[in-house]
């Protein structure tokens, strides 16, 4: 009888969610985009992803042993970092590039701050920006999607956004091609369809909320519509949503639990800020794409946003 009496502290209602369950669900939600990347760019994409994941996990393990902390490899967060980093790389990069990037992501982006829950920036984006600043040649050489009759190597193509930046017309890229990912780009960002399937899983499970992705994409689209063309209110907003890393960034990287605001109001501000910065970099900046810089800058602003969007304690003024 006494054994049936369970004494525990609040909260008394438990949800099944735990860090590792959420993280592995995110990993599953990223798989469609990974499969799409392999179909579009060939097996190279798979190797880049696997190498990045293994390097990220090993780095996490080594740091855990060195710092004599609980080994956190199995919670899946390092796997996500590895996948997201690889998804932000072109498929044709030499294989040491994802290794260096993943080690940097985990070591400098995460572990020096104290590991999961302490990092102020999204680790995968830290790795990507490091690679981008260090080896721009590899990071901006995109492989063309595989086509029947076309050889494997040596065919490179610019991303749609890069073509837009250079002022080349885009008439041969239809919205459907953009949606399905039939164009040059990073491994995981091109197939919007697959990304939306994964995002839907996370939204249904309640592991991410709509606040950041919706405000982020909406703000970018509105600004692209207003300022995206020579004439005001003639910008191709749908093109801006479907190209580049916006969908991947908005659903999977701007929603990182650790480096984003806690409250719904804060998340709305975060999303609008990301959208603003992305649109500014895309339309007026020197780079064709600004998603990673936008998210990192807003990560830096997160403690500030959190301070000004504190929830009122019930009953207080």
């Amino acid at each position: 009888m006494i054994n049936n009496l369970i004494v525990s502290s609040s909260p008394h209602i438990h949800k099944q969610a735990s860090i590792s369950r959420i993280m592995w669900t995110v990993v599953i939600s990223l798989i469609p985009a990974g499969i799409a990347g392999v179909i579009i760019f060939g097996l190279d994409a798979l190797w880049v992803t696997l190498v990045a994941v293994v390097a990220a996990v090993l780095t996490e393990l080594i740091f855990g042993i060195w710092a004599k902390k609980k080994i956190t490899v199995l919670d899946g967060s390092a796997v996500i970092t590895g996948i997201l980093l690889a998804f932000n790389l072109p498929s044709g990069v030499p294989l040491w590039l994802p290794i260096v990037g993943a080690v940097f992501s985990i070591a400098i982006g995460k572990q020096v701050f104290g590991g999961l829950g302490q990092n102020i920036f999204n680790p995968a984006l830290v790795g990507r920006v490091f690679l981008m600043a260090s080896w721009p040649k590899y990071m901006t050489t995109f492989t063309q999607p595989l086509r029947a009759g076309a050889g494997y190597d040596a065919i490179t193509s610019a991303t749609p956004l890069a073509m837009l930046k250079e002022g080349k017309l885009l008439e041969h890229i239809s919205y459907l091609d953009l949606f399905l990912g039939k164009h040059g780009g990073c491994i995981g960002e091109v197939c919007i369809l697959a990304l939306l399937i994964g995002a839907a899983l996370l939204l249904i499970k309640g592991y991410i909320s709509w606040h950041i992705p919706v405000t982020y994409i909406f703000t970018t689209a509105v600004l692209a519509y207003i300022f995206g063309a020579a004439q005001l209110f003639h910008g191709d907003w749908l093109f801006h949503i479907l190209s580049g890393g916006l969908i991947l960034g908005a659903f999977f990287m701007a929603t990182d639990y650790v480096a984003t605001p806690l409250t719904a109001k804060g998340q709305l501000i975060f999303g609008i800020g990301c959208g603003l910065l992305t649109a500014v970099i895309r339309i007026w900046g020197g780079y064709p794409e600004g998603v990673s810089y936008a998210i990192l800058m807003m990560n830096a602003a997160t403690p500030f946003i959190d301070r000004y969007t504190k929830c009122r304690i019930y009953g207080s003024k």
Binding site: F130, A133, S134
Partner: protein, 197 residues
């Protein structure tokens, strides 16, 4: 004599101006792109430190307390001008690559900090060794940072290629790389300090 050696030695590790006192970080960030620049900057700063410490220490009883900072600046600026003109005359290339950072030694907080914290309170010999130690410590720190940055950023040390086929990590040649290297080295110094205590 043992005391004087201690004054000298403290600037190198125990009170290293860059890694422990965290002074003079602006020129450190800007100049540490290459080892050659670092040596030039370190030597110039050491010369100014020595000169200003000597003069300030020897006239410390005559400097009115209320206007001591302007007095220090005048003395420091004199030595900076000497260093700058010498550099322009004998090594114009180094002068070009260091640019504004040589005249900026005037407001370098290591120099002013030693004047305010040490030279105005201690005798000539001690001030001399303190200035020398701080200068050497600053130079060594600069050389360490710039060696890491030059090697990773261009695969070279003092213009000699060390490893063939090395793909330079451009980011270390940029300001963000300087912040990264200094941050990690500061962390390393703190780690070593914690271990020793």
């Amino acid at each position: 004599m043992k005391n004087l050696i201690k004054e000298f030695a403290k600037g190198i590790i125990k009170e290293n101006p860059t890694f422990v006192l965290a002074l003079g970080l602006c020129p450190t960030l800007a100049v540490s792109v290459s080892v050659a620049n670092a040596i030039g900057m370190g030597v110039a700063a050491t010369f100014v430190l020595l000169g200003s410490s000597l003069i300030i220490s020897s006239i410390r009883d005559f400097i009115p307390d209320k206007i001591r900072i302007p007095c220090y600046i005048v003395i420091i600026a004199t030595f900076v001008t000497i260093a700058e003109l010498c550099m322009k005359a004998y090594s114009p290339q180094l002068d070009r690559s260091l640019g504004i950072y040589v005249p900026l030694i005037v407001v370098n907080c290591i120099v002013l900090g030693r004047a305010e914290a040490f030279a105005c309170k201690n005798n000539l010999a001690r001030s001399f060794f303190d200035g020398l130690g701080m200068g050497v410590g600053f130079t060594l720190a600069l050389i360490l940072i710039s060696a890491i940055r030059e090697f990773l950023g261009s695969g070279q040390i003092l213009g000699h290629t060390l490893v063939k086929g090395f793909q330079p990590v451009f980011v270390f040649g940029m300001p963000s790389g300087a912040l990264l290297v200094i941050g990690l080295l500061l962390g390393l110094f703190n780690l070593l300090k914690d271990k020793r205590v």
